[in-house]
Symmetry: C2
Subunit: 270 residues, 2 copies
Amino acid sequence: MILVNGVATDSVAATDRGLAYGDGVFRTLLARPGGLLAWQRHYRKLAHDCAALAIPCPPEPLLAQEVERAADPSDYSVIKIVITRGSGMRGYAPPESPTPTRVVMASPLPAYPREYARDGVKVHWCRTRLSFQLRLAGVKHLNRLENVLARAEWSDPAVPEGLMLDGDGNVVCGTMANLLIVEGGSLVTPELSRCGVAGVTRERVMEAAAARGVAFREEPVSQARLLDAEEALLVNSVIGVWQVRECGGRSWTPGAFAARVREWLDDEAR
Amino acid sequence: MILVNGVATDSVAATDRGLAYGDGVFRTLLARPGGLLAWQRHYRKLAHDCAALAIPCPPEPLLAQEVERAADPSDYSVIKIVITRGSGMRGYAPPESPTPTRVVMASPLPAYPREYARDGVKVHWCRTRLSFQLRLAGVKHLNRLENVLARAEWSDPAVPEGLMLDGDGNVVCGTMANLLIVEGGSLVTPELSRCGVAGVTRERVMEAAAARGVAFREEPVSQARLLDAEEALLVNSVIGVWQVRECGGRSWTPGAFAARVREWLDDEAR
């Protein structure tokens, strides 16, 4: 089901600035029969990202209600929320008082093989680099051509994710997931001050680690550092946690941290 | 009038990848009662940009016919063509055989004051920088948040354009126009191998200059170089040619080149 500004429909205005310029932000989260997963965090992040683009964020109760309406009450679904600056006249200048467009769509949970969570995944090493843009770093905006180009680099169905580097050659994230590495029993995640998306699951893991006294740092992660790590983990709201099993010529056996981080997330979600 | 895939409508699918990721390209051109301005060049550029994203470009006769249908036959109109990779399942991976979406819209010519062409324009110096992305440089794709952020920096209605710098501090272009500078009677335009849009009017001016034996070079243009130039010109398909009258603390009196370049373009369009 798709709701556009609260109305069940499958279309948006052809003049929407989301289409014209990617002038908007989005979120992807899980709905379970019991309710939404980490909804408050997702809404907070949505509001933060809207603010970064000076788009008025729709109120929380309105969006929560639309997400509940769109979701399948009897099964897991993936919810995508898109907020754009709304329709506009031709030209880049944002309208003074924009009327944002909100799109809420639900789709079935993708059927990833069970082995991904159990044994880890093989990961593509992307050639497409993330560009540096201080004004947009961390924000989940609709300008995602770099992710599309990176994801188009491989088609092997046994490779569900690719790792992306920035212009300096540091590893930043997957095309759809954040990255964590394990070093001497502590967690490190690439810092995202110049590019990348600061995801909600990454944030949840950081807080869960802090609550358990596990060291967690945000730092630049070179390719060598990643390949030296004890474990490398991919996290997002839909996949949860996948360990990297194979990447850039190195392979890893299943480690303790993937299961541990998954447990932290499950604990919080209970 | 708006045509989406040849049908008069004002909406596109909410699942379109143009909205989801800015996964597409666009063109803006002029339609006159006599016909389209520089259509063959615009189509060539559209096809080039589609190819850069591996989006199949709709055939020229089909698009030409839709543009003619959308345009006002009795007056000038601004035509915008958007080509996206079409609708898709959730996820960045492009569909193997995409069915592109084509949007053709016509709107009235903006009513810019006559003085802009005659006396030149005052220009804002944008703080938002253009990021480097080798895979997308020159392409007029739908990821235009940098232009939106730059254009949102000022609201003075007497300032119709802003100049954008890249991460190295070189001047690249306006938010909506290409830049040319005049140095010792020859033309220089910022090279666009790492960012910016290689516009059709810029290309037309380059060819017109070559045909007339006027030297024309693509080179990095520092801020100092721009401010030292004899003239600075902004060009695009809608505004034609505007001289920069005031920018970054410097002012220019109307020079010979703005009128000259306008004449070249008019000559070709006749």
